[in-house]
């Protein structure tokens, strides 16, 4: 038990810090932060692969102003997003929705990682059951030969 104590303390500290960091924060999100959050998920339509939040084109600025006024008129995030999807199609969302075909782009990497990790775990367990390989006299001779050559 005493050997493990420093690790347990460490784990407690880490878990505590993570919990504190991810604890929901109190306080209203400011209007500009809210605008920026939605804007960063919308594609700027007349520049390639930049978000409305990052772009300085007139249309991006107009979009930011529009989002801002919609937020202050009390529209919800999904309503605002829907306005833009209606206007430009799903291509305006930089983060594909997790429904329909878009779900694949989220699920596939997670599935691949889980499968890969599973494969490694299974391989490790199988190796664990195998006996260790012992070096045969031929192997030893080869090693000796190689050593002598150096």
């Amino acid at each position: 038990m005493r050997r493990w104590l420093p690790w347990i303390v460490l784990a407690v500290l880490v878990v505590g810090a993570i919990a504190y960091a991810s604890w929901p924060r109190g306080g209203e999100e400011s209007l500009s932060a809210h605008t920026l959050r939605i804007a960063s998920e919308l594609r700027c339509v007349d520049c390639e692969s930049l978000s409305v939040a990052d772009s300085a084109t007139q249309s991006a600025r107009a979009t930011r102003a529009d989002i801002r006024s919609r937020i202050s008129h009390g529209e919800s995030d999904s309503e605002i997003r829907q306005v833009y999807v209606d206007r430009y199609g799903e291509t305006v969302l930089l983060k594909p929705s997790s429904e329909g075909l878009g779900a694949l782009v989220w699920a596939l990497p997670i599935a691949a990682l889980v499968l890969g990790a599973g494969g490694i775990v299974i391989a490790l367990r199988r190796w664990g059951r195998q006996p260790r390989l012992a070096a045969s006299p031929e192997d030893e001779a080869l090693v000796a030969q190689e050593r002598a050559r150096q």
Binding site: L10, I18, R43, C47, L94, P96
Partner: protein, 681 residues
């Protein structure tokens, strides 16, 4: 004249590479060394051909020979000399020329490096494969992407000049060549991996033969990517340096699989395991460089970098298909021989950590690949358009990145085979506590964003672990040699350059990770409209609009706004973001002006040019720790150079009593115990 010379060069390249491939194939089939020798000689002709073609193009560019369509499109009389030279890679056809030149260079290096081993079929096949790749690119250039087309009709008096974005910053001279040196360099390990599969000798020989080249290519690719990020930060003006643009992703993909390879290769060298895996990673890296070229140069994806649409898509796609099919067929054919003996004894060991590392790197590559091609897949399957952008990549890659940081902290301290609890405690407890302290300090003083807290904590953990490992090694060397600290340090590094070079690269990556994490949670950004002599304060910096000035050159006309910057009453100088218009583009191009600092950058842009009433709208962003991305890139380059350096091994002098008796026993097992990795390198 220049067009003729260039076309001659390309034709010579096609001929020499085809003849070379033929001679090598015949020589390998008949086991005739003379034929192989002649095939090897063709490589030098290929190099000469590439030099002639590139020379002709540069000559045409420098003499503004607008009878060539490429020159007329990418050069103008007013283009400065630097951007006239870089015109070679300002558009598709020219950049394929650069590609071919670099490939010929690597080929020549192979031909010289392995000149004494031509009777080895492995070398013969490797030359054959690499020469075939060169042959494809020469034919491709001759047929589909010929840079030496002559304009029809009258020769224009002046050219259009390069794309304004490509003639705006000197980094343009370095970023593409570095990137291509990296991309193309992976052809060498690819050729040897193919040769290993063909000859059936997939032991560790091909790894030893290509270890340095792989590292060199990887180093160039890393530097190329970082320079690209820097260029985009200095030129594009949106304040960031990585936008998950398809072209950026395309350069990242081979980097990710290449990075996975240079880690997992160590497991094969040490333990003889993961043979298929390593082969697959090398083959995949090469395929991904071709896929990246296809994606970005054929116009299938929208991108800031995409050159105009052209007919090259089918060519590259066919080449990619043939290469991939050949690789897979070879692996399937050799399947019965590929199984390697060996086992991993414990999940807490260096080799298991390498497995986890590979899982995460390939997972990351999969995320990036999927996100890049998914819009195409969605469109092909359902005909609807959707985008995958920064928010997706950020969400998916952050956890993987955090996992990799964790491994980077832990793995270098893990012993091979199995780690006892005692070893873990001694090697990792102090660095881990340092990491936790950093986490808590970040939480209390800096940020409550989870990713940032974890990144700062793990970065500290990793740095302390590296420092501890190095310090202990230097100390034991010092006691053994009875030398000074500096001498012992250099001796330690030179004793195992690969390990310590790797550490330097790791420190570079940590710098970048910290910079990425802090750019996500600190900093501020505003757009302000200013009258003359009006000021505003953003993020503690006071910005005063002093005036405007206009500058006209043959290249461009720029209007800049002079902004005086000060902080806490201290004058920080005047910065002048500009808007320039180029003769060949109606749209004005903004050029940001950046005050670089160790902790914060102030990033100034003009959003709308000074109007008649003298008002200007400027973007003012305070970016956190951006400088550390470039520093990290530099460290990665230095680390790579250290790692490819020769290993100066300590002469083992057994002097009883010389070893530090207080030194921990596991530390005295040198990391550099003789293994395969030193044989034949």
């Amino acid at each position: 004249m220049r067009a003729t010379l260039g076309i001659l060069g390309i034709a010579l390249g096609v001929g020499a590479s085809a003849v070379g491939v033929f001679l090598l194939a015949l020589g390998l089939a008949r086991k005739n060394l003379e034929l192989i020798r002649s095939g090897r000689r063709c490589i030098f002709i290929v190099l000469a051909a590439a030099v002639i073609a590139v020379g002709a193009m540069e000559w045409a560019l420098l003499t503004h020979d607008f009878s060539l369509r490429y020159v007329a499109d990418n050069n103008a009389r007013g283009t400065p000399v630097l951007f006239t030279i870089t015109g070679l890679w300002a558009a598709l056809e020219g950049s394929i020329l650069l590609w071919v030149l670099i490939l010929a260079g690597y080929l020549t290096w192979m031909a010289i490096r392995f000149r004494s081993r031509l009777e080895d079929p492995m070398v013969g096949w490797a030359l054959l494969v690499a020469l075939s790749v060169a042959c494809f690119f020469f034919v491709f250039m001759a047929v589909a992407a010929n840079p030496f087309h002559v304009v029809t009709g009258q020769v224009p008096l002046d050219g259009r000049g390069p794309n304004p974005l490509l003639q705006n910053h000197p980094l343009m001279a370095f970023h593409p060549p570095m990137l291509y040196l990296g991309y193309v360099g992976f052809t060498v390990p690819f050729a040897f991996a193919m040769a290993a599969l063909i000859t059936g000798r997939f032991g560790e020989g091909w790894l030893a033969d290509t270890r340095r080249t792989t590292l060199v290519a990887w180093g160039f690719l890393s530097v190329g990517i970082i320079l690209g990020a820097w260029w985009s930060y200095e030129v594009l003006g949106w304040g960031g340096y990585w936008g998950w643009d398809p072209v950026e992703n395309a350069s990242l993909l081979p980097w990710l699989t290449g990075t996975a390879f240079i880690h997992s290769v160590i497991v094969q060298e040490r333990r003889g395991m993961l043979r298929v895996w390593n082969l697959s990673l090398v083959l995949a890296t090469f395929c991904l460089t071709i896929l990246g070229t296809f994606l970005t140069r054929s116009g299938v994806v929208n991108s800031v970098h995409a050159f105009t649409q052209s007919s090259i898509g089918p060519w590259l796609l066919t080449f990619l298909g043939v290469v991939t099919a050949t690789c897979l067929a070879l692996i399937a054919w050799r399947a019965d021989k590929l199984h390697a003996p060996g086992r991993i004894d414990s999940p807490v060991s260096r080799e298991a950590a390498f497995l986890a590392n590979n899982l995460l790197f390939t997972g990351l590559a999969f995320v990036v690949l999927l996100g890049t091609v998914f819009p195409l897949v969605a469109q092909a399957l359902r005909g609807n358009q959707l985008s995958v952008g920064e928010p997706y990549f950020a969400r998916m890659t952050t956890p993987i990145g955090i996992g990799l940081l964790f491994l980077m902290a832990v793995a270098p301290a893990l012993p091979w085979r199995a780690a006892s609890g005692e070893v873990l405690r001694r090697r990792l407890l102090v660095p881990a506590y340092a990491g936790v302290v950093a986490m808590l300090l970040t939480l209390v003083f800096l940020s409550r964003t989870l990713a940032t807290v974890l990144a700062f904590g793990l970065a500290t953990f990793a740095i302390v672990a590296i420092a501890r490992e190095t310090a202990l090694a230097v100390r034991s060397r010092r006691t053994a040699d009875r030398g000074g600290w500096i001498k012992s340090f250099t001796a330690t590094v030179r004793g195992n350059p690969r390990r310590y070079g790797g550490f330097v690269v790791h420190i570079g990556v940590i710098c970048i990770a910290v910079a990425l994490a802090s750019s996500g949670s600190f900093g501020s950004k505003r757009e302000v409209r200013l009258r003359r002599n009006e000021s505003t304060v953003v993020g503690g910096y006071k910005v005063t609009f002093v005036g405007t000035h206009k500058a006209t050159t043959a290249q461009k006309t720029s209007v800049s706004a002079d902004l005086k910057l000060s902080k806490d009453g201290r004058d920080l100088g005047t910065y002048a973001p500009a808007v320039s218009s180029f003769p060949n583009s109606q749209e004005a191009i903004g050029t940001p002006s950046v005050r670089t600092g160790l902790i914060e950058d102030v990033y100034l842009t003009i959003i709308s040019a000074p109007n008649a009433r003298g008002r200007v709208t400027v973007g003012i962003a305070v970016n956190s720790m951006t400088l550390w991305v470039w520093i990290g890139g530099g460290l990665m380059a230095i680390g790579t150079i250290v790692a490819i350096g020769p290993s100066v091994r300590r002469k083992i002098r057994v002097r009883p009593g010389a070893r530090d008796p207080s030194g921990p026993p596991d530390e005295s097992i040198p990391e550099e115990s003789p293994t395969v990795e030193e044989v034949g390198v």
